[in-house]
């Protein structure tokens, strides 16, 4: 601290009065130390109020239990410490566990498909032979600009029998698909999600591709490398950080899937009120009014997301070292 203050305010060597400069110095150093906090205050206050505090409240709530007397609790209601009983109840709920399992299955299939797809699109658009890359980049990105709810409504009209032209198209080939059945609706949702987010992930990868210095490409050209060779030996290794980032975002996004199944529920009887973990927590909290178990579910969802993200990071880091 004092080192910085001396640096910013050098005292003249000829003046021997020691205490005064140190006092001003200390005050200065205090001001310098305070400044970032002061500037951070608006952020920190909001961050604490809207992020840290709700998390603390949710965790506390997840350890609370409500007991009622009478037919509706009209004879008295008490809240008490519950230990892990809310967690036990959440974990004993087969539908909640099934929803996490469903999202894992969804993630195992949808995330790789989307990452491969967006990588291919990015490589194609950044290749030397691409035509109108600006137009196609915007076109691929466009679905991301459509809100998830609207995207789902758009797609639902392509999924509903009797309204969708896809059914009559498929019947030409003797197929009778069922996009909204119990076994297929998950992949219909995966299709919507892929449609929405591929372009967004593609942009992140393109940004990283653009950061590859031109000399590397020139060197490859001098060595006579084919475009495929360039992609596999130069581009893919160099965009690894972007791939890791988009994969982690996608894993977290998968666990937080909410709007698409919620909207598609109205046309597909196969989607129940606990189809995804978030839908499950939402239903528990706001339809069943069981805020405490919902809080426990939310904490569990966060834990699973943490574990998956860190496991993925650990695996990719081990590979690189």
């Amino acid at each position: 601290m004092s080192a910085t203050s001396q640096h910013t305010h050098p005292t003249p060597r000829v003046v021997p009065a020691a205490p005064r400069p140190t006092r001003t110095g200390r005050r200065r150093s205090g001001a310098v130390a305070r400044a970032p906090w002061l500037l951070l205050t608006p952020f920190l206050a909001l961050f604490a109020l809207t992020f840290i505090l709700p998390i603390i409240v949710a965790v506390i709530s997840s350890f609370t239990k409500v007991t009622r007397r009478g037919l509706f609790g009209e004879a008295g209601i008490t809240s008490s410490f519950a230990g892990f009983s809310n967690y036990a109840q959440a974990l004993a709920d087969g539908n909640f566990i099934a929803s996490i399992g469903r999202m894992l299955l969804f993630g195992v299939v949808q995330v790789p498909v989307m990452i491969v797809l967006c990588t291919i699109l990015a490589l194609l658009l950044e290749s030397a032979s691409a035509r109108w890359p600006g137009f196609f980049r915007a076109a691929f990105f466009l679905p991301y600009g459509v809100p998830g709810v609207i995207a789902t409504i758009l797609w639902s009209f392509l999924y509903v029998p009797g309204l969708s032209p896809l059914y009559s198209f498929a019947s030409v080939f003797g197929l009778s698909p069922d996009f909204l059945g119990p076994n297929t609706v998950l992949w219909s949702i995966a299709n919507i999600v892929t449609w929405s987010y591929t372009g967004y992930n593609m942009l992140i990868i393109i940004a990283q591709l653009k950061a590859i210095p031109g000399e590397v490409y020139e060197a490859a050209k001098v060595d006579g490398a084919s475009p495929v060779r360039v992609a596999f030996s130069i581009q893919l290794p160099l965009i690894r950080p972007a791939l890791v980032l988009t994969t982690i975002f996608s894993i977290i996004g998968t666990l937080q899937l909410f709007a698409e199944p919620q909207v598609l529920q109205s046309v597909s009887p196969a989607i129940d009120s606990q189809y995804t973990p978030n839908l499950s927590a939402y239903t528990t909290a706001f339809a069943y009014n069981d805020y405490n178990v919902a809080a426990a579910q939310a904490v569990l969802i966060a834990l699973v997301a943490f574990i998956l993200s860190f496991a993925f990071l650990a695996v990719t880091n081990r590979k690189s070292s």
């Binding site: 305070r34 709530s61 809240s79 046309v267 339809a287 805020y291």
Partner: protein
């Protein structure tokens, strides 16, 4: 002592604010409003807010506002119940706010009572209005000696059918469910379904068991008594197990879904057993004018009742209302006065009037859409009197319905409805116990 720095003050302030917020964050809905003193009627002018998913309700409220300058009513539209309205109301209640009045379906009243969300209107003179309402409906808003909502509309059930489609197999509207199954089997040979059975929405099945004479929940001194495996329920479950196995009902979509509208328009669905409010929705089927008629709901042989209620809602006074008496008076005017009922029918297309004395002026006339049939007076008015008076709703109704439909969905993988109901009953009992309520299975 060193003077406090700004940072220390700030820190202390943040800490205090955080503590204050944390202590304010007790689990919502754990304070009882009905133990608090009665709020006397206000002397001066008051404004009442009514949250409802009825469209164009404000013009109706304006009729009241013109006659009652002291009690002005402001309506706010919310999404319908389970599609977002209830979460919104619950959140508002949890935050200590919310409107004076809210639209709450009959079956959901106990769930709102569980979070102490409703005012007991018997403390504000609800008894003086009781005589205006259908007894079955009044019974469904009365719990534990209190009154927790004013019936607003209901849905007596009947059979909407397309005579031309039934005519393909030479059938008329079936009078019993057995006849219904016979007609459905014949229709299936012509690639037509009689009706759909909604696997995802248990309210239809529940309404049919009520018609058959079931009484799932009973409130006793020592807690709730459940019986979802009685003969009436099992009869309905076996009937639809059979119908689904024989593929004579459509299970791919439910009534009023986009797929249903398409099928109803093209004549692939012959009929619809539904509530009186279904008439407006059927009028939305493309090219349907003159193709539909209404018949009495099929009955379960000699036992049970002539009809059942499907849907229907109340105007309930919410816990944080500052003017419960004024809200009650408005609700009673809205739902039982001629002016209120007629305006609600005209502007909001409300369901069946809860007041047996007056079904609404426009509903006393024949309908051009239904080929000149005076179906409201002929079919629905009698249906409203042929109800199961013992049926009563219970807390966590929505969760119970979800548990039931989760079981119904397993029908595709071979579980019968009969088995899934027995399992659902166990799960629902667990739900009751988890929320701290006493429940036991009906013995014998």
């Amino acid at each position: 002592m060193t003077p406090l720095t700004r940072r220390q003050i700030m820190r202390a302030g943040l800490g205090a604010a955080a503590l204050g917020l944390l202590s304010g964050c007790a689990t919502p809905g754990t304070r009882t409003v009905n133990a608090a003193p009665v709020i006397p009627p206000a002397g001066g002018n008051v404004t009442i807010e009514y949250w409802s998913w009825l469209k164009d309700l404000q013009p109706v409220a304006d009729i009241w506002n013109a006659a009652n300058p002291n009690v002005q009513v402001k309506t706010v539209w919310i999404p319908s119940g389970n599609s977002g309205g209830y979460p919104k109301l619950y959140s508002a209640l949890a935050a200590g706010g919310g409107p004076d009045l809210a639209q709450v379906e009959f079956g959901v009243i106990p769930s709102f009572m569980m979070v102490n969300g409703l005012v007991d209107l018997s403390r504000y003179g609800a008894a003086e209005f009781a005589g205006r309402y259908d007894k079955t409906l009044w019974n469904q808003v009365s719990y534990a000696g209190g009154v927790y909502g004013i019936p607003q509309d209901s849905g007596p059930m009947a059979l909407f059918y397309q005579p031309a489609v039934l005519g393909k197999v030479g059938a008329a509207a079936p009078a019993t469910w057995d006849e219904w199954a016979g007609v459905a089997t014949e229709l299936r040979k012509t690639k037509t379904y009689m009706d759909c059975f909604p696997l995802a929405d248990a309210s239809f099945f529940t309404a049919l068991t009520s018609q058959a004479g079931a009484r799932w929940f009973r409130a006793e001194e020592d807690g709730w008594v459940v019986n979802m495996t009685d003969d009436a329920t099992m009869k309905v479950a076996r009937f639809f197990d059979n119908a689904i196995d024989k593929d004579i009902v459509q299970t791919g979509f439910g009534a009023y879904s986009p797929g249903w509208f398409a099928a109803a328009g093209s004549g692939e669905i012959a009929s619809l057993t539904s509530a009186s409010w279904g008439d407006a929705l059927i009028e939305g089927v493309q090219g349907a004018a003159g193709k539909w008629k209404v018949a009495k709901m099929p009955v379960w042989g000699s036992s049970g009742y002539g009809s059942s209620y499907l849907g229907g809602s109340t105007a309930a006074v919410l816990a944080n209302s500052k003017h419960p008496r004024e809200a009650l008076e408005f609700a009673a005017w809205l739902t039982s006065s001629h002016a209120g009922v007629d305006a609600e029918i005209k502007n909001c297309g409300i369901g069946w009037s809860p007041s047996p004395g007056f079904i609404g002026t426009t509903r006393q006339k024949p309908s051009a859409f239904f080929s000149g049939q005076n179906y409201n007076e002929e079919i629905f008015a009698p249906a409203a009197t042929e109800q199961n008076p013992q049926w009563s709703w219970w807390p966590s109704q929505q969760q119970s319905f979800n548990i039931l439909s989760d079981g119904f969905r397993k029908k595709a993988s071979g579980t019968t409805l009969v088995d899934s109901i027995a399992m659902a009953e166990q799960q629902i009992m667990t739900v009751f116990r988890n929320s701290g309520l006493n429940i036991r299975k009906e013995s014998a």
